[in-house]
């Protein structure tokens, strides 16, 4: 009895929200279509193409893996964005450029290390400005990559602390919009400071080729998918960092304080939580993760340009919003979903529209479920 009541109540709830039903229907259609495509069945009654067609299992696996890799990175970068949103209550438009700063500083350090380990012949200036052939890989010089990752984290932490001191601290409690506008100014200044030093050139940084970058090939039903050592490193590093964040939030006093602050700032302050110190910790964690995410993205992509972080920012926002803005686990989950969805979308739409699909998902989520997919629990 109770169960039926519950069910009918739920059905009535859905009927009240036709958009949700429509969305569920669309997703269901896509799943059936994907199954038909994989089976190679095409349904065309009266010559009208309804669903099905043909798609290789191996390409679906490829989309899935690429999406997962992209999603992990978006999730990692989104953690910081979500944290600053929940602790400081503003959408930080400079977050994408923290990734860029992390990537540039990290890769410059990598090449300086590689100058010694690989014995590069170019002068120091050219190496620092990354105007050299791309030679660094985790196989040829693991030390360079590790040092690069550490420098990326350190440099971006130092930068966000400086920015907090100069820009955001004088504006505490000024409301979300003035801070948002200020962060747009910070984003512009950061991006073009990088241009001032490193110019607008896009450069390759990681070595390619089998001897410097081994790849493992997975055989699936009708083809193969190969994953290289950089992608593997990236997955391992991203997952490790995410577990680290989880441990930090759940099992340390700092984590508890952050969750308390995200929940109710005034109450946290009254309870004696040193709010300024928690804010600093938030910036350190968020900035450090952003810097490392930036470095790791370039490890996977291989090319570095001054505006990649800015271009990725909206993607990161999509993930964070999908997971429920303010929630760290939501940011990770939402990032992975957005990553996979944007790659899987390529089965149906041309590649130029992958980002359009991701942004549309973001807008739809904001419209119909602004609290995010996971219910919007703001657990920092």
């Amino acid at each position: 009895m109770g169960v039926t009541d519950n069910t009918t109540g739920r059905i009535r709830g859905y009927a009240a929200r036709p958009a949700v039903v429509l969305l569920a229907f669309a997703l269901g259609y896509l799943l059936v279509d994907l199954a038909a495509k994989l089976a190679g069945i095409s349904v065309d009654p009266l010559g009208v193409h309804v669903l099905g067609g043909y798609v290789r299992v191996s390409s679906v696996v490829k989309y899935l893996f690429n999406g997962l890799i992209l999603g992990l990175i978006i999730g990692l970068a989104g953690v910081g964005l979500s944290m600053t949103y929940s602790i400081l209550s503003f959408a930080n438009f400079a977050h994408g450029d923290y990734l860029t700063v992390g990537a540039f500083s990290g890769w410059a350090a990598s090449y300086v290390v590689a100058l010694f380990t690989l014995g590069l012949a170019e002068p120091f200036g050219e190496i620092f400005l990354l105007n050299v052939p791309s030679v660094v890989s985790i196989a040829t010089s693991p030390a360079a990559v590790v040092v690069g990752l550490i420098v990326a984290a350190t440099a971006s932490v130092a930068l966000v602390l400086l920015l907090d001191r100069l820009v955001y601290k004088p504006m505490r409690g000024r409301g979300g919009i003035p801070l948002l506008i200020a962060s747009i100014g910070v984003a512009l200044a950061l991006r073009y400071t990088i241009v001032f030093v490193w110019s607008t050139n896009t450069r390759g940084v990681t070595a390619v080729g089998v001897e410097s970058l081994p790849a493992y090939t997975l055989y699936v039903v009708d083809g193969s998918y190969s994953i290289n050592l950089h992608e593997f490193t990236m997955i391992v590093a991203a997952v490790a960092l995410m577990i680290g964040v989880h441990v930090l939030l759940q099992f340390t006093k700092l984590g508890k304080a952050m969750r308390a602050m995200a929940d109710n700032k005034a109450l946290a302050q009254v309870t004696g939580i040193p709010t300024e110190r928690v804010i600093r910790a938030t910036w350190i964690i968020g900035g450090g993760l952003a810097g490392m995410a930036g470095f790791l993205i370039i490890l996977k992509r291989g090319v570095l340009s001054y505006n990649f972080g800015w271009r990725l920012l909206l993607f990161i926002f999509s993930g964070v919003i999908l997971g429920g803005i303010g929630s760290v686990y939501g940011a990770i989950g939402g990032g992975i979903i957005i990553g996979i969805a944007s790659r899987m979308a390529l089965i149906w739409i041309p590649s130029g529209f992958a980002r359009v699909a991701a942004f549309s998902v973001m807008i739809l989520v904001l419209l119909f479920r602004p609290a995010g997919l996971f219910g919007g629990v703001t657990t920092a």
Binding site: Y192, P350, V356, L367, P370
Partner: protein, 455 residues
């Protein structure tokens, strides 16, 4: 008193206390400054035709300033009046301009075919398209907080840019037998966006009519220019700028001003201050938001057509998201909520921040007789030579300009979030109560009030 305050007090009251005169005076000052800068640069580069360079420099700065003023006025309707945080300005400009170009481009044209409609119809269509899209984008604003809405609008403008950039709808391959055929066919109407290759249409400045053949107005102007050594492109360009300055800009200004003072505008301001209060007074705030958003979007679309689309060719690069932030900076400088502030902010932004550094760098470069140009940052830094430093700064002025813009945004948000003219009192009632004549009971109070409102 601060330096700014002193400068402000030095302006004659005849100009200071009259908004239109103030705007015209600032435009004149900017024009003269840029004529001198342009002339100086041409003189230092020992060009022969000084006057041509001077007028061209003035034409360029006025065109940019007026274009930004149009966009800033439109944004002021959204952000200044209603508090709708729209950072998708470039998207609305693109929708307006692309709709116009697709409607006006000849069928079978290159790089993309269009519908071949007359230009005035196409421009109207472009504005309607921008308004409709604006209405759709405004829907999230009905239920979202300002920062979420900001993300929606920036996402929208990216969707527009990516969609017109992609080759799927570009119409560049017009042979239906080819696999790559990509003309959009909507109920028999075939068109395309041109993708990355842009789109062409027979659209030009409306003032060009004056110069077709030997007309009564155009020919004397060209002759006059020629007698001072000013080339015909500069003369026609300058005529268009004059057209924008004395017809379009005042039209935008008057529309915004009258809207702001109307009952409709007062509801908008009420929404900005406290939406719940406006609702409790029986106003359906949702419709007000949608309407003002549509109007502002149409104005942005028209500005996109008149500015970016003036030369018969547009491409996705003409509508980069940076323009959005430029317009926002201009509005913040001027003071959100004030129409005069919007225009002055746009002029200040374009003349001081957007073009100023480049002009000054050009003059310095010419004056120094060609500074050394270090190939990169490290070469410059390690040279320990001031000339090399100067040379690098001058050669990288375009990057420095953005850094200045960023710093100015942060500085304004920290120290003067209300902008230059944001300190002025907003008159909520239809009668100016602050200037009430002395009455028998509250004479003293009225006098102090009057004293404050003079500032």
């Amino acid at each position: 008193m601060s330096v700014g305050g002193r400068l402000w007090q030095a302006v004659p009251p005849v100009i200071r206390e009259h908004d239109t005169r103030l705007i015209v005076a600032i435009l004149v000052v900017v024009s003269i400054t840029y004529m001198l800068l342009g002339g100086l640069q041409a003189y230092l580069a020992s060009e022969s035709n000084l006057l041509n360079a001077m007028v061209n420099s003035m034409r360029f700065i006025l065109l940019t300033a007026i274009a930004y003023a149009l966009l800033t006025l439109a944004l002021n309707l959204h952000w200044g009046y209603t508090g709708l945080f729209n950072i998708g300005i470039a998207g609305f400009m693109a929708v307006g301009a692309y709709a116009t170009y697709i409607l006006a481009a000849p069928p079978g044209g290159r790089p993309a075919p269009g519908l071949g409609l007359p230009v005035p119809v196409a421009i109207l269509g472009g504005m309607v398209a921008a308004a409709i899209v604006g209405g759709i984008v405004a829907l999230p604003a009905l239920q979202l907080d300002a920062d979420y809405f900001a993300i929606v609008t920036v996402g929208f403008s990216e969707i527009v840019r990516l969609s017109i950039q992609d080759s799927t709808f570009s119409g560049t391959v017009q042979d239906p037998n080819l696999d790559t055929y990509n003309v959009v066919n909507l109920f028999g109407a075939e068109f395309g966006t041109g993708g990355g290759r842009g789109i062409q249409a027979p659209i030009g400045p409306p003032t060009d009519v004056l110069f077709e053949g030997t007309t009564a107005v155009g020919q004397p102007l060209i002759d006059l220019g020629a007698s001072y050594g000013i080339g015909q492109p500069v003369v026609t360009g300058m005529t268009y700028v004059v057209f924008l300055g004395i017809l379009v800009l005042p039209a935008y200004y008057v529309v915004s001003q009258r809207l702001g003072n109307s009952p409709f505008g007062r509801v908008l301001k009420a929404i900005r201050e406290d939406e719940t209060v406006a609702q409790s007074l029986g106003k359906d705030t949702r419709w007000f938001k949608i309407k003002v958003f549509m109007l502002g979007a149409a104005m942005m679309g028209l500005a996109g057509i008149l500015w970016r689309g003036r030369a018969g060719y547009i491409n996705p690069q003409s509508f980069r998201p940076l323009i959005t932030f430029y317009v926002f900076t201009a509005l913040i400088i001027g003071g959100a909520g004030s129409n005069t502030g919007s225009v002055i902010g746009a002029i200040a932004f374009t003349s001081l921040l957007l073009n100023g550094p480049r002009r000054v760098a050009g003059v310095i470069d010419s004056a120094a007789g060609g500074l050394p140009s270090p190939s990169n940052f490290y070469v410059a830094l390690s040279s320990l030579d001031p000339a090399m430093y100067a040379g690098y700064l001058v050669s990288e002025i375009s990057a420095l300009k953005f850094i200045f813009v960023g710093i100015v945004i942060v500085w304004l948000m920290q120290n003067r979030p209300e902008g230059m003219l944001g300190h002025r009192k907003e008159i909520a009632s239809s009668i100016d109560l602050s200037e009430r004549p002395e009455t028998e009971s509250g004479g003293g109070v009225a006098a102090t009030d009057g004293g404050v409102s003079d500032e």
